[in-house]
């Protein structure tokens, strides 16, 4: 069972307290009505499916209830980093 660091609680806690919430940094378009069908399809369905570091959202569902962002290596299943929702995508990742 993974340990996940909640950036709001500032505590590292068991995976059981958290739920996965899909890929991160996919913002809802400000005005969806201006989107073409293709753009809207991409927003709805097209995901990175990364092999390696993956930017994704988690929720501390059985804790503070906050959504936050994480970088997880999909090969090793290890968390590299977590950070608060709304913070920019980190430019460099820890080794």
């Amino acid at each position: 069972m993974l340990l996940i660091h909640c950036p709001y609680c500032e505590a590292t806690l068991p995976e059981l307290e958290f739920t996965y919430a899909g890929e991160a940094h996919i913002a809802r378009p400000a005005d969806p009505s201006t989107m073409s069908d293709e753009q809207w399809r991409d927003f709805l369905f097209i995901r990175t499916n990364a092999r390696g570091p993956h930017f994704e959202r988690w929720r501390h569902a059985h804790g503070c209830g906050r959504f936050f962002n994480a970088v997880r290596d999909t090969v090793s299943d290890k968390f590299l980093l977590t950070y608060k929702a709304g913070e920019p995508k980190p430019e460099s990742l820890p080794e």
Partner: protein
């Protein structure tokens, strides 16, 4: 005392005899015996029949790697277990064990005809033989195979035991308590670190329990071990867990430990759990699992009496048991020589030691000579004989790779050793990388992914001194990595009989390849011939060889078989073993009971059952319940003599004609509060909310961004900045999660707060023409007239003296009210309303009646009439969309080309031509029953009921282009009959809605 037990020898209690039975025959063992050692002490080697060929099999090992000695153990009364390893099961007074996979008895097994027919049962035979004719599979082949194959019989009664589970944290977890693990735990324990030491045996000590020659720090191994055990037990920061198997190594140093608590007790305390699962999170893990001895692969190597040499050493020195009357040793490793010497010194004649190697340490042959043991170097074993027990073997010299003539040696026991395989199962669970070590011809741990350390035999070290010193060093490293100051003690030894050996895939033989039956995987009956056949037939990956032959796929996960199988496959493929690779070990390390995994999640605590405040009344009044997500809800309330149909019909009549009372407390309720609450709901729900006045409510529809219906419910506005949102029973958590998601991440600027209030309110629905007459006299603070309180109103008031949030809404088409009171008053209000309602012919109804009444009105149930691909338009809910709103969740998708297609499946009503026929929900619809099969399906029935109000059946269905098919006849082909039905509107009853104010 039996002829095979040496008085006074070993760690068993010679003054504490224990009686047990095996296959109905009574035997005597000693306290601290395993079932295997006790049977061997009685001269019993034959303990089971093999999986595929039903060949007689004996005890091979002395540990959890045992492939053959699997027995059924029973205490009666729902306490029985198949496939218990006799090498781990301790004997107790009254233990009852039976052999498996034999009929009618172990000595004569009818299934052994499979052995005669072995030529017709090669590797992958079930892929080849049972393909045709297809219809024979279900009726003949599968039942036959199921009866003939498999080990043990599942218990027929529910498990009467209970199980426990526990979390633990420590600085250093040491897995395995042999010399390396014991030294590691001592070193780490002395540093003050919190240490857990786990070992699957009944006593900690590992190899030290079975070596009476080695001296450690000038003490005997037994004395040193006693002192170590005492010191570990006295250290308050060390927890010793014997009879505890580390079954899996999971992420971030979480290790699962399965502890056996009562299986060794003659009369377990009633309150003791049988087993306990520990989930240990360790800062540092020391893996000291040691090494597992490899069998040798030769013709007839599976006969009872053929045993691993290391196991014989354990039986001799730990249990005081001699494995037989006349023993021969065949080996490619020095360790088996020392077993032979120990046996000879204990008075067992050793007929010969056969070593495949041409040259060995001369000290070994010099030690053999004075004991009168014939040493045969560069020799091989080519055959064995004896039906139920080994009688003789064929021994041949090997000269320049050529096998000479056979010589017969009489013996009842053959001890074999093909060297030792480092046990890396747990390390493999971490996805740690292995590296091939050419010198030892084995895989050793290489790149680590976790904070773990491997000590002793597990990383290829051999000998007690090496293991002790490495364990101490690694224990110190682990403690220091966890932040403690530790120093490794020196731990020197004398008489440490270390040694070396070579790995040999298969013994040389003079037999033709077609006539050898050399077993590689004893538990799954896989021979070397099977593996070569698999390679010949094109399986060139070890993963394919494994699945085709089933080698390594038995419950022992190939602990004995895998390395031999790999060597044979690699030779057949013509590649070195590291290029062929190893199959992946997976948790659990050893077979683990379901009970241990389930822990407390059993019977009443198997899962959560949510109950409403009114549930006790329903239970007392004969309700039949149904599960709805985690809730249990009253389904219907049968009176004596009523079946479900009669009860539901009566409940429906009463509600339409008088008044029905319904427990709606499970509805999800979310309070949405804040200055931006109305803007939040505008963005989230399809409907417009700005103009909804306080004191009024409205049906709300929630979509996903993909445009499909996700949830619905009535939303009431309590004040400018406060809304009471209801959701479906099953959707409450999902909707709150979605609201939180948008609020936290997309619109964090909105000043809105969300609170789940589902369990704060008990909700009682009153529906029917008498609803207002019943309620009116009980309400204070609100006029219930149509003018003051029309349909779709809400108000704070009191009902029967209880503070209430009162809604006028209807999910039945009748005049309806939903009274929310604080949950603690729910039951009292329910009883009060029932009492007052007697004068108005009140009738409690359950969820089935609720479903019928709503279907008569064409109201959808999300998740029943929708399935995640239904748009508002499909469900005739286009009216619920705020057309002038610039945006809401899912709006853009409603313009997707595929969602505006007029031929989409749309929700329509169905009226069967025969009004008595109630269609099956899920039944498929076609427009022409005479089309060839497979027919094109155009839709399916989503809801179907007997409508008591209409005196006929009704149904809702999703049908392609359904709204353009009004009046059209559609067909529902069932197994024996084809029903016909006409497409109709979805509102079957009171289409003008006049009854809402009756």
């Amino acid at each position: 005392m039996s002829a095979f037990r040496i008085p006074g020898k070993g760690r068993v209690c010679h003054d504490k005899p224990v009686r047990f039975t095996f296959d109905g025959k009574q035997y005597q063992g000693l306290e601290a015996d395993t079932l295997a050692s006790a049977l061997l002490a009685n001269g019993v080697h034959l303990v089971g029949r093999s999986f595929k060929y039903h060949r007689p099999r004996g005890i091979v090992s002395a540990g959890s790697e045992e492939p053959n000695a699997l027995v059924g153990v029973s205490r009666g009364g729902g306490r029985e277990e198949p496939n218990t390893r006799a090498t781990l099961q301790e004997v107790y007074e009254g233990l009852t064990a039976i052999s498996q996979n034999r009929w009618p008895c172990l000595h004569f097994d009818a299934g052994a005809t499979a052995d005669v027919l072995h030529r017709f049962l090669p590797a992958g035979f079930y892929y080849k033989t049972f393909m045709w004719p297809k219809r024979f599979w279900d009726r003949l082949y599968e039942p036959l195979i199921r009866r003939a194959a498999g080990l043990g019989v599942p218990p027929s009664e529910p498990d009467a035991d209970h199980y426990a589970s526990r979390y633990a944290h420590c600085d250093v977890l040491v897995v395995g308590a042999g010399p390396a693990g014991t030294a590691a735990a001592l070193t780490a324990g002395r540093s003050g670190a919190q240490v857990i030491l786990a070992d699957e045996q009944a006593e900690i000590g590992g190899a030290l329990l079975a070596d009476d020659k080695v001296q450690i720090e000038d003490q005997t191994a037994a004395d040193w071990l006693s002192a170590a055990q005492a010191e570990l037990a006295a250290l308050p920061n060390v927890r010793l867990l014997a009879r505890t198997t580390a079954i899996g190594y999971y992420h971030q140093n979480m290790v699962g430990l399965a502890q056996r608590i009562t299986d060794h007790l003659a009369s377990p305390p009633a309150d003791a759990p049988r087993e306990r699962m520990w989930r240990v999170r360790a800062a540092q893990v020391v893996l000291a699992q040691g090494a597992i001895e490899r069998p040798l692969v030769f013709h007839g190597n599976d006969r009872p009496g053929v045993m691993l040499a290391g196991a014989a050493q354990i039986y001799l020195n730990r249990y005081g048991v001699k494995p037989g009357k006349t023993v021969v040793v065949v080996t490619s490793h020095d360790s088996a020589w020392h077993t032979a010497f120990d046996l000879a010194d204990a008075g067992t004649p050793i007929a010969a030691i056969i070593d495949t190697r041409p040259a060995i340490d001369p000290a070994l042959t010099e030690a053999a000579a004075p004991r009168g043991i014939e040493a045969l170097l560069s020799h091989t074993v080519t055959a064995t004989s004896g039906r139920l027990r080994l009688r003789s073997i064929h021994v041949n010299a090997v000269t320049d790779g050529k096998v000479g003539g056979a010589r017969l040696i009489l013996c009842d026991t053959l001890l074999m050793s093909g060297g030792w395989t480092p046990s890396l199962h747990l390390f493999s669970h971490t996805q740690g990388k292995l590296a091939w070590d050419e010198a030892s011809q084995s895989f050793l741990p290489d790149l680590k992914t976790e904070a773990c350390h491997i000590a002793g035999g597990g990383r290829g070290l051999w000998g007690i001194e090496n293991a002790l010193q490495d364990g101490a060093k690694v224990g110190a490293e682990a403690a220091m990595a966890a932040g403690f100051n530790a120093t490794a003690p020196a731990l020197t030894t004398q008489n440490d009989r270390s040694g070396a050996g070579i790995i040999i895939a298969e013994l040389p033989t003079d037999r033709g390849p077609q006539s050898t039956r050399s077993f590689v995987d004893l538990q799954n009956d896989v021979t070397s011939k099977d593996i070569r056949l698999a390679v010949h037939e094109g399986m060139h990956s070890i993963e394919h060889v494994k699945r085709y032959t089933t080698s390594g796929m038995a419950t022992d996960q190939g602990k004995l078989a895998n390395m031999n199988g790999l060597a044979i496959a690699a030779a057949a493929i013509g590649k070195p073993p590291p290029q062929v690779g190893l199959t992946t070990f997976r948790p659990p390390y050893t077979p683990t009971t379901f009970g241990t995994f389930a822990g407390y999640h059993q019977d009443d605590t198997f899962d959560i059952t949510r109950k409403t405040p009114i549930d006790p009344w329903a239970a007392d009044n004969g309700a039949v319940f149904e599960p709805v997500s985690l809730w249990r809800r009253a389904w219907y309330f049968p009176k004596p003599g009523e079946d479900m149909h009669a009860a539901v019909a009566r409940e429906c009549r009463a509600t339409r004609n008088a008044v029905g009372i319904f427990d709606a407390s499970t509805l999800g309720k979310i309070e949405v509060v804040g200055p931006d609450a109305v803007e939040f709901l505008n963005r989230l729900y399809t409907n417009p909310w700005t103009k909804l006045a306080p004191g009024r409510c409205r049906y709300g529809l929630l979509l996903g961004e993909d445009g499909y219906i996700l949830d619905d419910g009535v939303i009431g506005r309590l004040s400018e900045d406060r809304f009471h949102v209801t959701t479906t029973t099953g959707g409450a958590a999902r909707v709150l999660n979605m609201m939180e998601d948008y609020l936290q991440t997309e619109w964090p600027d909105l000043r809105v707060w969300l609170t789940s209030v589902t369990e704060q309110w008990a909700t009682i629905a009153l529906n029917g023409p008498n609803a207002r007459k019943l309620l009116e006299p009980l309400v204070e603070g609100q006029d219930l007239s149509d003018e003051a309180f029309p349909h779709m109103s809400l108000a704070d008031c009191t009902v029967a003296g209880f503070p209430a949030r009162l809604f006028r809404v209807s999910f039945t088409g009748e005049m309806g009210f939903e009274v929310n009171v604080p949950a603690r008053h729910g039951l009292a209000l329910w009883q009060r309303l029932l009492g007052e309602g007697e004068a108005h012919d009140i009738c409690p109804y359950g969820t089935e009646t609720m479903h019928v009444l709503r279907a008569e009105k064409g109201f959808i149930v999300v998740g029943q009439d929708t399935d995640g691909t239904v748009t508002p338009g499909d469900a005739n809910l286009g009216w619920a969309i705020g057309k002038r709103k610039p945006d809401f969740v899912g709006k853009r998708s409603l313009a997707r080309p595929d969602l505006v297609d007029p031929n989409r499946k749309q929700l329509v009503g169905l009226l069967t031509d025969d009004p008595k026929v109630v269609l099956e929900e899920g039944a498929q619809l076609v427009d022409d029953p005479n089309r060839p099969i497979p027919m094109q399906m155009i839709g399916h029935v989503t809801s179907s009921y007997w409508s008591e109000a209409l005196g006929r059946s009704i149904a809702l269905a999703l049908v392609e282009g359904g709204r353009m098919r009004m009046g059209e006849t559609l067909y529902l082909p069932m197994a024996s009959i084809t029903h016909t039905a006409k497409v109709s509107r979805t509102v079957f009853y009171d289409p003008d809605g006049q009854r809402l104010s009756m």
